[in-house]
Amino acid sequence: MENIVCNGCSLLCDDVSAEISSKGVNSLGLCKLGHTHLETVTAHKIVATQKKLEKAADLLMNTTNLLLFGWTHATDEAIREGLELAATLKGHFGSNVNLGPMQAMSHTIHAEGLDIDLEYVRNNGEFIIYWGTDPSESLHRHPSRFAVLPRGEKIPEGIESRTIGVVDVRQTETMKMANHRLIIPIGSDVELLNTVISELEGKSVIKDKILGIPGIELVGFVRNLQKADCIIIFYGSGVLNSGNQDTNLTGMVKLIETLRATGKKAYALPMFVQSNTMGVIKATHDHEIVGELLHRISSGEFDTTLVVGDDVLAHLPGSVAKALAKTQILYVGPPGGLTDKRATVSVHTSDAIIAGTGTMIRVDMKEIEFKKWRASVATEKHSEVLMKLHKLVRTKRT
């Protein structure tokens, strides 16, 4: 067994190990998502790419309006190379991060400086709230590694030293560990946020049942917020999918500010699932962001799309995926998936977990470096392929 870094989700677990033998893949510590991801990418057959790269470079030279899209599963090095390629070709750099809800989620909270790293959460997080997110389904190790179960400097007894709250529109598996299980109607997040804020401000607004939650339960939730010294809210796509994304996120920011005004430490962290969403956010922080991307793709603005790392056709809304499929697609990434199948030219690369080099940014903005292991020998990486492609484009131009 060798130590590896898993990129099956945005937690980028670096305390795990694996080995690949003729009998298959063996791993220790990897969750089901991570192990399945490793098994999948291990089975990929990557072939030589030079001819395909030449063809891709020729096509890129003849585009009139290029979109460079994907990136949330690419390494930081590949993203940086992609930004440079976009500048050379005067193309538009975009990703899921530029899509409405994700954009709101990634920029609103970060602009307010409300986030903190997960080690701090483990050591100090006294009241943990999962709001509109169910880590048991998407980020399996989030509760055990950082937020709920582990012991920390000020959390000597782990779960017994913490209070856990879950706010969702349905019964979730994570609720099994929660002290407070608040099931609210769809679209009522802001009403709950405002109620909690008012109660924290001493206005005693909770007299009876609110949003179907018994008053005594809600008062208990607020009292425990008041007793805790350090409160962390993990918010997920559920906060945004009701369509009130901006209002909800503004309410979330106000709740954090209200808690801080009473002398408490309070933070909010997003629960992105894609392995390097944060890498895209960090790398594009100072770059021009493609606005209204869904609309621009749907209107047929782009004639060519260079997709890197993501199977975007499988994940975009149907009408947008159809519009994107009408463009000339060049795909750089692991084999398989709709985008690879639909692409005019596909240049296959190894997944970062196999390549074992480069970095990604964990969901709390911490940089995690991949570890080289035996499987890393002679692999084709995203960043190297993009570098070669960029070089070819520049050569052909001159």
Partner: protein
């Protein structure tokens, strides 16, 4: 019978008065569920107004007095390899201390270890439910979100 700390917690005064050894009501409820503490160790619970709650708690914890070593069933088809059982198991934490900080178990000394994406019981005999401890410990079952672990 499963003892849920949340059910016990909801019956406690929930004042976090710090008069008991565990200091918080949640910690007290967890220790109650494990049989490590008695309802009589909660002073506010013995005060007037909580008679019905005290009676109910005593009913709930009574079966633990006859607890014996029992089995653990792990349904691999339900397991997501979340490592909750590894991190929460007191035996694992003693056998491999980094698991207390959320790290994955790497040694062969723990009760649980996640292999190939699924938790495995690799040292059942070390479980605190077995002699010499014979404790009614159910933490792995309590914090298994997918109900993959069942104790009978």
């Amino acid at each position: 019978m499963k003892l849920n700390p949340m059910e016990l917690y909801n019956l406690l005064p929930k004042t976090n008065c710090r008069l008991c050894e565990p200091k918080t009501c949640m910690a007290f409820a967890t220790k109650l569920a494990l049989g490590d503490i008695s309802p009589d160790d909660c002073p506010p619970l013995l005060e007037s107004g909580f008679e019905k709650n005290l009676e109910r708690i005593r009913e709930l914890v009574a079966p633990m007095l006859s607890a014996e070593a029992t089995g653990i069933k792990l349904d691999e088809s339900k397991c997501t390899g979340c490592n909750n059982c590894v991190v929460v198991c007191p035996v694992d934490v003693a056998a491999e201390p980094p698991t207390s900080e959320g790290k994955a178990a790497m040694s062969t000394d723990t009760v649980f270890r996640v292999e190939n994406g699924i938790s495995k019981i690799i040292n059942l005999e070390k479980c605190r439910r077995f002699p010499p401890d014979r404790l009614n410990c159910r933490v792995c079952e309590q914090y298994c979100c997918t109900d993959a672990i069942e104790i009978w």
